[in-house]
Symmetry: D2
Subunit: 333 residues, 4 copies
């Protein structure tokens, strides 16, 4: 299988879902190898580079795309299988941006307090050890942490003619910021416009659940993914499948509503997978769900609801597409 | 080490934190083996037993205790190390109680809709396989699930002269409903009144994160625990330590505030453990936190914030008390 | 009608709903004239008195009571009609207490930011003009504002054996902090324990809706009220009636749930008053409700839902008790 | 002064803020008389017309506009003064739309419950009496209610290239659904794109605060308004001024954040109007704010924060523009 390489120029980045002309057309079945810039658009390169001075708010969270998927129509499910994510630089950056993040007041959780100090951390990447190093700013502590690459942002054009900032997680995917969006996972997104118009970005060399300070170890990323389509298979909200789990992602505020959305979507999926009545799926999931918070910092908060396959009878979703994509991915490498 | 056995009579159960005379006095260092009744007070024994007819709201979530810990004073930390939890019956029960749970309107999330159908599920325990079996009510699906015992409710008497229902999770612990409260874990609670007056209950043979329908596989439990005290060590909110993780539990509404509380408490703990400035701890935890939701169904919702010890330099809390309790626990068995 | 005068000593104040022995027994029909201390317990007497130094957290929001109402039983409605509220001092105090209030992070909305500056404002009372004067601290602006006395806190002992801080608004009333709790209003509270055990306090010489900074113009108050009882008439949540409006008060978090509770309770009341089906009451109230937020600062937030009587056909609640109490009140003066 | 009449054809309605070509260019100072269709796009004309069958989700909440205001640039304030709102039909409609509204689960407050019954109410308009009549569906009660016309939706194109559904209230205004948006009021909106691109719609013949069921007495409306511009005067969030009040509107979820936003914006405005330090403005507003909830049903909830001018020293905003617009409006009639 051929792999289509995409490395956008600065002018080609997208900053919204919807409202942008396609960067490229792809057929279902295509393998892509795409370069994505980091969420700061490469502006934070040392601890002296503070977000207030360097980050241009017009150019944050640049997305690579959108890709027009031939044949994709509203009501279909877009399937994106992530084969590999490779850090494209030798360092990642994180920042406490004033009035942004989970442990500070924000433009929404509006208070009269002063902001936290604008601070940047640089994480050096050790490719041999496959680690990035946290370096405390006020003390000498340094900690090498495993690289666990993921994409913060994966989405399609929204419904109803809306155009949303790439900072938004929603029904259409977007800035969900979950560590589950990693190599080996297949993401199923509802298609709302002809061609789906998906884009990806916001590579994280690693991220904790909740993304507490609002930014992960942000880094340029080279992502290999397979694109496919399930006619008529649109889920209500983003779904993820990997070798071990069935997963859904809900995004809203307050956080309990993000959870409710994800939990109801997994109840629905269990109806499809196991023929369970909603009350029975509700009960079963009450005893087996894993619920890692994704982010508590974005325009909507995101919660992931997971069910471990090994606890459950065999089942396959979308005609076994995830397994099929795993096979195709293996043949790529 | 001797183990003190406690099996309460029906009249001896406590239904509140605070407001109850001590069941027994214990010294720091004591090992207890306590029997706890299930959250339904044993009233749901078949799928014909519906909560609306059988559960007496005066007698729900019975607690075994309170135990007066000699020498415990406000400002101390009570340490409870869970050695073992053994199902005390051969079945557990779960129920969708009308207007209670996460995917229904409630007395708080008040709507005009009809309730979901009052439904009870019984989980048969297979001691040899160490499983409980989910049996769907509307279809034939049965699934054997591993027993993973935990206590939903562990708490002390609240501050300020308050008396709270055993259904409440709060700063004083209580009905946190997290699967992390399991054998091998040490729970550190702030002491608010002389003697601490802790109690335990709400055994779950297993529970998913979020406890979606509001009830786990509820079952009578025999719990072996070690009681200890850290003079002057009161945390701001409940902390947990096991062999693999540092953990905090925040409880409030909306759910993001439960998370904020837990995340700030772990920032504080990281200041103690690693000498980190709050901004550095905030940053480090942004990249390593694990955040499993505990419950989205109780009077307050609860979120757990965890950090994996293996990612971090060696550190010890409370003079290495958890490791010491592990050693003592080993000598018990 | 005789009026029973009650002026507690310092030792007699109550700081909780429930958990306190009755201060006095009263019969339904009794008129009371009670003195209440301010929420700071009189500790803030000049702008030099800062809350951090002066306010003793054990003694905040002192309540006058509890009063045991003879014959009151669970399921009854306690009716308290407020005849008059007179400022009992010549000044009131307000404060921005660190980490308390609506435009700051708090122990629940937990952030890592510094607190707002601890600040006290003193409002001089001009009895002739019936004003209190706001005096800016950083500029010279002074503004005389009309005195509009109200009680922040009116409640009964909670159900389920709970004891709650006087800072809490809940189903049992408590610290609802609504300007609607003023002379001319009748408050209907559900009775949960024999004797009801109600208390009152937290006089405000005036307060804006939301009580943004967390404290009103707090002042000692002399309140004249009539006590009555409606056998079997317990509302689901606190109700208020005055000459112009039907009102309910919901208290919870997040704020939309406080509103939901109040709105559903008014739907129920409209069923009783006008025989309306819940869907019709829901519709009618959608077009006529007035919804002033009460507080966004307490342990629970409170919202008031009101319907203007002049828009509606004549109706009477609880056998016309409010009108009857108005007549009795008139005879008192 | 000439009045420009605008009556759109069906094809000319806008369903988003942003993303639509201007319907017409206007100069600051222009008087407009615009016709707006009702939020159901005229599809509900009898109680037999149920929303599930009749309402086309592609065509809800049609907006009249957008109007390109000559000279308007990002950073300016658009001033819209509402001179008159006249019901353009002899009936209004309201509906309980399944899974939409405040006392039902929704796509966000997701539960497994059945929806409330899809129900439509028709309100006949009596022009002589200036009333609309509520007619209960399950009983015979009819109540004539005063017409109090308002516009639910007034907004400009959003920042950042976003395009938002006309159902959304936000920083750019939009579907705020507050009864304060009525004749006599001036609305100040931040301009985000050249020309501002404002539109108006969603006429309500009357609406309760909170818009509990999700729809008001929806009706086609003829609105006369004056358009003006304040160079460099962009507020942070929508502001309103009428003869009696200074007002701000915050929109977010949960509802307390909508309130926080509005309260902080009014603190800022009081800094401009009275030279008050934020702490003093916070204190003053704590004692005088009126806070009517606007809606608890839209994509964001909205809260209005008001301060009564008669309590305050004289002040003028934007060079006294509101008074000037009142004078111009008087000359129109």
């Amino acid at each position: 299988m051929d792999v289509v390489e995409v490395v956008p120029t600065f002018e080609q980045y997208a900053y919204t879902f919807g409202g942008v002309a396609p960067l490229r057309r792809v057929r279902p079945g295509t393998a892509l190898r795409v370069w994505s810039e980091d969420a700061f658009n490469g502006t934070l390169r040392s601890t002296e580079d503070l977000s207030g001075a360097k980050v241009d708010l017009r150019f944050i969270n640049p997305q690579t795309g959108p890709f027009l998927v031939e044949g994709a129509e509203p009501g279909d499910a877009l399937a994106l299988h992530f084969v590999a994510m490779e850090p494209a630089r030798d360092w990642g950056a994180s920042a406490a941006i004033p009035f942004f993040g989970g442990l500070t007041s924000t433009d929404r959780v509006a208070t009269l307090q002063d902001p936290l100090p604008d601070t940047t951390w640089i994480y050096e990447l050790d490719r041999a050890a496959n680690t990035v190093t946290f370096a405390a700013q006020r003390t000498d502590l340094q900690i090498a942490l495993p690289v666990e690459p993921m994409l913060g942002t994966v989405g399609v054009a929204p419904p109803g003619g809306e155009v949303r900032s790439s900072l938004v997680p929603e029904r259409f995917g977007g800035n969900m910021d979950t560590p589950q969006m990693r190599p080996g996972a297949t993401c199923f997104l509802p298609v709302f416009v002809p061609g789906a118009l998906f884009s990806v970005g916001d590579g994280h060399y690693r991220q904790g659940e909740g993304e507490a300070c609002g930014t992960a170890v942000e880094g340029a990323m080279t992502t290999t993914l397979l694109v496919d389509l399930v006619k008529g298979g649109a889920p209500g909200w983003p779904r993820l499948e990997d070798d071990t789990h069935w997963m859904t992602v809900g995004s809203s505020r307050p956080l309990e509503d993000a959870w409710r959305i994800g939990q109801v979507e997994l109840v629905r999926w269990f109806g499809e997978l196991y023929g369970l009545h909603p009350m029975d799926a509700y009960q079963l999931l009450s005893q087996i769900s894993e619920v890692p918070i994704a982010n508590v910092v974005d325009v909507n908060y995101s919660a992931v609801v997971k069910a471990r396959k090994s606890l459950l009878p065999p089942a396959s979703a979308y005609g076994g597409l995830h397994d099929e994509l795993r096979r195709r991915a293996a043949s790529l490498r």
